[in-house]
């Protein structure tokens, strides 16, 4: 995949995002969230531009991007399926569910299906602790999740994306 930085309008779009947060107190996280929403990850080429605009060093910006689990340095699959691994969900069989989902999808956590359609990620608590185990894909939430329910969710999303 080619870097979005080679797109003619990359800097324009990046500058617009940075400008939208001008004057805010502590603008870096909101900027990074917007960048990730725009390109699906935080392109490395964006970091010196942000650093320059905010009066930070490149190392400082890199340090922030790499600290937080949410910020990616490479694109994810078109959909991200997140399975909760926390204690309340474990008490309802989250570990067994994770094993079955991994087997069904043929990928491990942090991996993407070969067709680039789906990335599997762990998550530590979705706040759905009274109806575990839980899962999330985009806007869709799943309580009392089973491997069948998860597969149905994945299949529906696949159709929605035209895959």
């Amino acid at each position: 995949m080619t870097s979005p930085a080679s797109d003619a309008d990359f800097l324009l779009r990046l500058d617009a995002i940075i400008a939208a947060h001008a004057g805010r107190e502590g603008p870096l996280l909101p900027i990074l969230h917007d960048i990730q929403a725009e390109w699906g990850y935080v392109p490395e080429e964006a970091q010196p531009v942000i650093a320059g605009a905010l009066g930070m060093t490149r190392a400082e910006v890199y340090g922030v991007v790499s600290f937080y689990h949410d910020f990616r340095d490479h694109p994810s699959g078109r959909h991200v399926l997140r399975l909760c691994r926390a204690e309340a969900c474990q008490s309802m069989g989250a570990d067994e569910l994770a094993d079955r989902v991994r087997a069904a999808l043929g990928i491990d956590f942090h991996q993407t299906t070969p067709d680039g359609r789906l990335t599997l990620e762990p998550v530590f608590c979705l706040g759905l602790c009274a109806c575990g185990p839980s899962a999330q894909m985009g806007e869709r939430l799943l309580g009392r999740a089973t491997v069948e329910k998860v597969q149905r969710l994945v299949a529906e999303a696949g159709m929605g994306a035209g895959a």
């Binding site: 107190e25 502590g26 600290f67 602790c129 309580g143």
Partner: protein, 513 residues
């Protein structure tokens, strides 16, 4: 006929959006928060003659039959009767969650009709000093886990001299088993706004931030929508309710770091830095966000304030036990038959909460233990369930209240595996600033793996390591991770011994049958 279908994330996870869409063909549907009875979600409510009748749990496929029954007035198998009369609702004392599930969360009008803004109006009337005095008198303590008296914190910030002060709401509710913050922000976001505005007036802060974890997109959306409504209604802005006090606020989204629930780490994150813990002193009340005096309070602490102001601190202090005053929204979660949120005065025993209110396990098997207070909370064994729910009371059992979330486990739970998870979680989420947490948690995982292989010499090493982490860590992440580990080891030594080979997962099942 008015119909309600919850918009709460838990209700949505169980199909509420599909049910609402199906009902919308025949009725006007209002989306409310959840009543907290998660086993009944999606819970559809219908108002007749001012009484709300419940039907649940409703699946999208049930809707045609339900519509038919509602039209004809016939009985329906999912009918629950008047919602307010259900035993779960009647047994509660809902002060903070009084409106959650009752009103349209975005209607300032309905909010006021149910007692909203009374606290803020009185706050404007009595002024900063009297507000702080009232909150102090209420005995309210931090509901995020630390339990620091809210009034004292506010007094410190109020007394600090600075050109700009802040109110920061810690809505980084990362503890497994906890969902009170989420449920409140989704079901009654205006009460949090009101509480923060009162805090702003009390300490002289003109700007507030709600730091919400990114795992809660619904709460983020609802808070932002409610802030917009509050601005339109003059609750926020250049003159709060026409008082002349300036106060406004905005939502900030976290980025998936559990440690940002620690207040100094949260402040660094809010400033756009790595979420690394700061050494205290200086305390955030004097040098907080951008080095300025800052109130950092949990969602439930701030949302308790409007009731306290409306009814007086003395009224609030009448509830509870010992130094645990008022009510606490208990979150009953994990392997439990009736899971959800139950707000009550402090003092019920853990056993009553789990076995009577929660109805025991969902699996129908005996309860083995419950983790109270999230991933850093102790596993309380079932034979210690006579402990009353309170800060000091749980502390006396080497446990902690935390955010009052309870994750229940049945007798198939493998305590060694759960102890290992606690160390692994600490290793993944450590901010890296202090060595006991950063390195200790990794050594903890390795040592528990040794014990799992049958090496009993690992046990004293694990105990020693826990002691070092407990006393040597900079914040609660490394400092409290030993609680789940040590409680598992102390109360369930059999799970840590005789493990030459990994045991089959069903050992307990066989033993019990």
């Amino acid at each position: 006929m008015r119909i309600w279908v919850p918009l709460d994330a838990a209700a949505k996870a169980l199909g509420a959006d599909e049910v609402a869409a199906a009902l919308a063909a025949d009725f006007t549907v209002t989306r409310n928060g959840t009543r907290g009875m998660i086993w009944l979600e999606p819970l559809v409510e219908v108002e007749r003659d001012g009484v709300r009748y419940g039907y649940g749990p409703v699946e999208a496929g049930d809707v045609p039959g339900l519509v038919e029954a509602l039209r004809s007035g016939a009985a329906h198998p999912l009918a629950l009767g008047p919602v307010e009369e259900l035993p779960w609702m009647k047994a509660q004392q809902r002060l903070v969650f009084a409106r959650v599930g009752v009103i349209d969360p975005f209607s300032v009008e309905e909010y006021q009709a149910h007692g909203g803004l009374e606290g803020l109006r009185r706050a404007v009337e009595i002024g900063p000093e009297a507000i702080v005095a009232d909150v102090t008198e209420s005995g309210l303590r931090g509901r995020g886990g630390a339990g620091f008296p809210t009034g004292i914190k506010w007094k410190t910030v109020a007394g600090a001299q600075a050109p700009r002060k802040y109110i920061v709401c810690n809505a980084d509710e990362g503890d497994s088993g906890s969902f009170a913050d989420r449920m409140l922000m989704e079901g009654d976001p205006l009460v949090l706004i009101e509480g923060m505005a009162i805090a702003g007036i009390a300490v002289g802060a003109v700007q507030g931030y709600v730091y919400i974890r990114s795992e809660y997109p619904d709460a983020i959306r609802n808070m932002e929508a409610a802030i917009g409504k509050a601005r339109q209604a003059g609750i926020l802005g250049q003159s709060v309710l026409g008082s002349g006090h300036v106060y406004d606020m905005e939502v900030r989204t976290g980025a998936g770091a559990y440690v940002c629930g620690e207040e100094t780490s949260l402040l660094n994150s809010l400033e756009g830095k790595r979420g690394v813990v700061r050494a205290k002193p200086p305390i955030p009340a004097l040098e907080g966000f951008l080095g300025r005096p800052t109130v950092v309070n949990n969602v439930i602490s701030l949302a308790s304030v409007p009731w306290i102001l409306a009814h007086g601190g003395a009224e609030y202090a009448k509830l509870g036990i010992g130094r645990s005053k008022g009510t606490i929204p208990i979150q009953i979660a994990g392997n439990v038959k009736y899971g959800g949120l139950f707000e009550a005065a402090f003092g019920m025993t853990l056993g009553h909460i789990i076995n009577e209110i929660g109805g025991g396990t969902a699996s129908g098997r005996p309860v083995k233990a419950a983790q109270v207070g999230g991933p850093l909370g102790a596993y309380v064994p079932h034979w210690n369930f006579d402990v009353p729910f309170g800060y000091e009371e749980l502390g006396a059992k080497d446990a902690l209240l935390g955010h009052a979330g309870i994750s229940v486990f049945d007798d198939t739970a493998d305590m060694l595996k759960l102890a290992r998870f606690a160390m692994e979680f600490c290793a993944v989420e450590s901010c890296g600033k202090c060595t006991p947490c950063r390195i200790g948690s990794i050594r903890g995982v390795e040592t528990i793996d040794r014990i799992a292989q049958g090496d009993q010499d690992g046990i004293p090493i694990l105990k020693d390591l826990c002691n070092t982490m407990k006393w040597g860590s900079l914040c609660a992440l490394g400092g409290f991770a030993p609680f789940p580990v040590m409680s598992a080891l102390t109360h369930f030594p059999d799970d840590f011994s005789g493990r030459g080979a990994p045991r089959p997962a069903n050992t307990y099942r066989e033993a019990a049958e």
